[in-house]
């Protein structure tokens, strides 16, 4: 049995591509996904990997010693605020 077309996924892919949902490009994406459901898994897992990278590469605070050395090298150490 053919898998049902995942409209939400198609919409996400087309948004990433910058196309409208009704466009020919979107129709082609939908048709493609119907024939190759592995692509849905592949696309989903790729998105999840990007999400995981955003978590582990989240902003860290500037270490105090790095900040001190920066102000020193810029000769602004007297104006450094704690």
């Amino acid at each position: 049995m053919k898998p049902k077309r995942d409209v939400e996924l198609q919409k996400k892919i087309c948004m990433d591509l910058g196309a409208d949902l009704d466009s020919e490009l979107c129709q082609q994406v939908g048709n493609f996904m119907e024939e190759y459901p592995e692509c849905k898994v592949y696309y989903d897992t790729m998105k999840r990997s990007v999400k995981l990278y955003r978590v582990i590469e989240d902003d860290c605070k500037l270490p105090e010693n790095v900040s001190e050395r920066l102000f020193k090298v810029l000769e602004l150490e007297k104006l450094k605020q704690d």
Partner: protein, 204 residues
């Protein structure tokens, strides 16, 4: 470590920038306070180690304060200094990659993507980010990504710049940015898949 002091330093105003351009050290130190953490984080993401990120941070602010008179205010000061930072980081990466070539470091084979492992991932995978070994494996994969793909991935997916802005900063065409981003994402996804498979965390 101290908290990022955005609340103490206020906003980037034309008066603040003008004072910094005129050599007011108080204004310059406010700008350093305002943006040093963000530039340092950019350095860490692009250069992948603390020492290089610190060098990049210092070089960025030294260059910015030396050239601040040439800043015309066509963009925000942050955009301007961010570009300086990216260029310094790219210069370092290019230097490193020249050194790596002499040690025969192999570039990932992006052209040969046959035989992809199309396994689905278990729902609990997001909880694995607290696992140090898993985090290290993810970071190593990003370390292994060639500089030309990594800089696009960092700017687009981690710094969340637009395709247009990334293309402008890296002096690439927009379509080149898209292709490199896709390849970087595929590479990282496949490396992560390998780790998951090795650890026996895959559904099938």
């Amino acid at each position: 470590m101290h908290p990022i002091k955005r609340e103490l330093t206020g906003k980037e105003t034309p008066e603040l920038i003008q004072a910094a351009r005129e050599g007011d050290q108080k204004a310059q130190s406010l700008l350093v306070n305002m943006y040093s953490a963000r530039i340092y984080n950019l350095g860490l993401r692009m250069l992948r180690n603390n020492e290089d990120a610190e060098d990049m941070l210092q070089e960025t602010f030294i260059t910015a304060l030396q050239k601040i008179k040439s800043f015309k205010g066509k963009s925000t000061f942050y955009t301007w200094i961010y570009r300086i930072g990216v260029n310094i980081a790219l210069g370092k990466l290019r230097k490193q990659s020249r050194m790596q070539i002499s040690y025969s470091i192999q570039e990932p084979d992006f052209e040969n993507l046959h035989g992809l492992s199309i396994s689905d991932w278990p729902e609990y995978i997001e909880t694995k980010v607290s696992d140090e070994e898993f985090k290290t494996a993810l970071r190593l994969a990003l370390d292994d990504l060639d500089e030309k793909y990594r800089s696009v991935f960092v700017l687009r997916d981690l710094e969340e710049l637009s395709t247009n802005k990334t293309a402008e900063i890296l002096e690439l065409s927009e379509s080149n940015v898209k292709v490199r981003l896709m390849r970087a994402r595929l590479f990282l996804r496949d490396r992560m898949n390998t780790v998951l498979k090795r650890e026996g965390w895959l559904v099938k």
